[in-house]
């Protein structure tokens, strides 16, 4: 539990409140974040059945603005940002020339010439430099991470809890839509997005207002079963929904196609960094695929475990956990294409013992609409 580097952990504006609430705090990408408040399983189930409240202020925000803003976003991100109207967001990725992930991101179009890229905390500096390197013409790229805190309220009761605290009507906001207005009395971006597989919202607001809004949402959700949630539940929720975690499931060694994220790559939009490599892989096929599996034998697969087949090492587990809602031991692994079909069997080496697993359809959990 000791920090090796001696670098002090960064703290979000909610750190003092978390200490007050008795959260268990841990190092996450250099930030001191709550891993759990009460019980990871209770928090996970609260999000599935009622609502959960998360602080995700560590996430990075990069503003891209100017007449050539769209051209820059189209160049560095693989999804088609031209399809976004102001008020719409999309899941996308920054790619290397090899078609591997610099980062996975959300692209918000706030105005025709104004975008907000939301990036993983640990990649913020790298991404900012990457986007800046590709800038040309009339465009400003600003690392605005210090000016934005972010809360996420997720679950079937999220809209009902959040609505009374917002100036805008939440009901008409579609999935991956957002509106700008007041939340908790301050100017905010309220976006119908999340990382849990549930309906819910992510709220971008000034850091100095974040603790007050967090408290107000806790109060508003008290009778609705809302719980404050830590990163433990965030990780198990996103895995049940098969949402990739950068650094685990995707990184600079894995391509968009290998990760099963071909739908975010839009080669028809024109050139972008990584496009050629992805076209080659599309024609030639992928050497491995990221698949969802369930343990058949007893045991929990974990990140880094080896996938074995007929006595040979053939892949690796990128994420694995007990799924508190699906009540199964689940995971994601890169395996050769011939082991990637639903029903295929392989083993996971758990403490040097080959433990049987089977490929299953993903997501492991899909909410009923």
């Amino acid at each position: 539990m000791q920090q090796v580097t001696g670098t002090p952990l960064r703290k979000t504006p909610l750190n003092a409140l978390f200490r007050e609430l008795g959260a268990r705090l841990v190092d996450f990408a250099g930030w001191e974040m709550p891993v759990q408040f009460s019980s990871l399983i209770e928090e996970h189930l609260a999000v599935r059945s009622a609502a959960g409240l998360f602080d995700v202020s560590h996430m990075g925000e990069i503003e891209v603005e100017g007449r050539d803003a769209l051209a820059l976003v189209q160049r560095v991100a693989c999804n088609d940002a031209a399809r976004l109207a102001p008020g719409q967001a999309q899941y996308s990725a920054l790619l290397t020339e090899q078609g591997t992930f610099v980062d996975d991101i959300l692209v918000y179009r706030r105005a025709p010439d104004r975008f907000l890229l939301v990036v993983n905390a640990g990649n913020t500096d790298k991404d900012f430099a990457w986007v800046g390197q590709h800038a040309a013409g009339d465009v400003q790229v600003v690392n605005a991470s210090a000016r934005w805190a972010q809360l996420a309220i997720q679950g079937p009761r999220a809209a009902g809890v959040l609505q009374p605290l917002c100036s805008m009507d939440l009901e008409p906001i579609p999935s991956y839509g957002f509106a700008e207005g007041k939340a908790g009395g301050v100017q905010a971006i309220v976006s119908r997005t999340g990382y849990t597989g549930e309906d819910g919202f992510e709220i971008y607001l000034p850091p100095e207002a974040a603790a007050d809004l967090f408290r107000a949402l806790l109060r508003a959700g008290r009778g609705e079963g809302l719980l404050p949630c830590g990163f433990g539940a965030r990780d198990t929720l996103r895995l049940e929904a098969r949402l990739a975690l950068y650094g685990n499931d995707i990184d600079e060694t894995t391509t968009v196609h290998e990760a099963g994220l071909r739908w975010i790559s839009k080669p028809a939009k024109g050139d972008f960094v990584g496009r050629e490599a992805l076209m080659r892989q599309q024609a030639g096929g992928v050497p491995r695929r990221l698949v969802g599996f369930e343990m058949v034998d007893r045991g929990i697969a974990r990140h880094g475990h080896t996938v074995r087949f007929e006595g040979r090492d053939v892949g690796r587990v990128t994420s694995g956990t007990y799924g508190p809602y699906v009540k199964k031991n689940i995971g994601l692994a890169y395996v050769p294409p011939d082991l990637a079909g639903v029903g295929a069997r392989f083993s996971v080496a758990i403490r040097e013992r080959d433990t049987a697993a089977a490929v299953v359809p993903t997501p492991f959990y899909k909410r009923s609409r």
Partner: protein, 134 residues
């Protein structure tokens, strides 16, 4: 739960790896402490040895996993496994709810009647945990 709330029965002895031990005649019952279960969080998997398996003091004899963490279990004494709490396979959360009662893990028929060095009393363990937390 804050660490000060943890309870450590006087009748048990404790290891630095946070197992407890209760000796009756030649049989020792082993589990993990209140502090250990609270540190791990929701326990979802317990892997225990087979009956008759040999265990060695200070060596791992099994594994306990919470949703987020994997932790080895260390034998406080040497001997042969005389009983295994198989109920934990279906209900591993019992370790969180009742770590000194129904959450026990194995019973060891102790091979060496000599006292294993390094075991702590309740008071010594409480101090050890407080020091570790700070």
């Amino acid at each position: 739960m804050s660490k000060g709330d943890a309870i450590y029965p006087e009748s048990l002895r404790y290891t630095k790896e946070h197992e407890w031990l209760e000796t009756r005649g030649a049989v020792a019952t082993v589990g993990i402490t209140h502090y250990a279960q609270a540190e791990l969080g929701d326990i979802v998997y317990v892997e225990l040895p087979q009956m008759e398996a040999a265990v060695v003091a200070g060596e791992p004899f099994g594994t306990v996993e919470s949703v987020k963490a994997v932790s080895e279990l260390f034998a406080p004494v040497s001997g042969v496994v005389a009983e295994v709490n198989d109920a934990l396979q279906a209900s591993p959360e019992t370790v969180n709810k009742d770590p000194y009662g129904d959450g026990w893990m194995i019973r060891i028929k102790v091979s060496d009647s000599e006292e294993t060095p390094g075991l702590m009393s309740a008071a010594q363990y409480r101090k050890y945990v407080e020091d570790e937390a700070n």
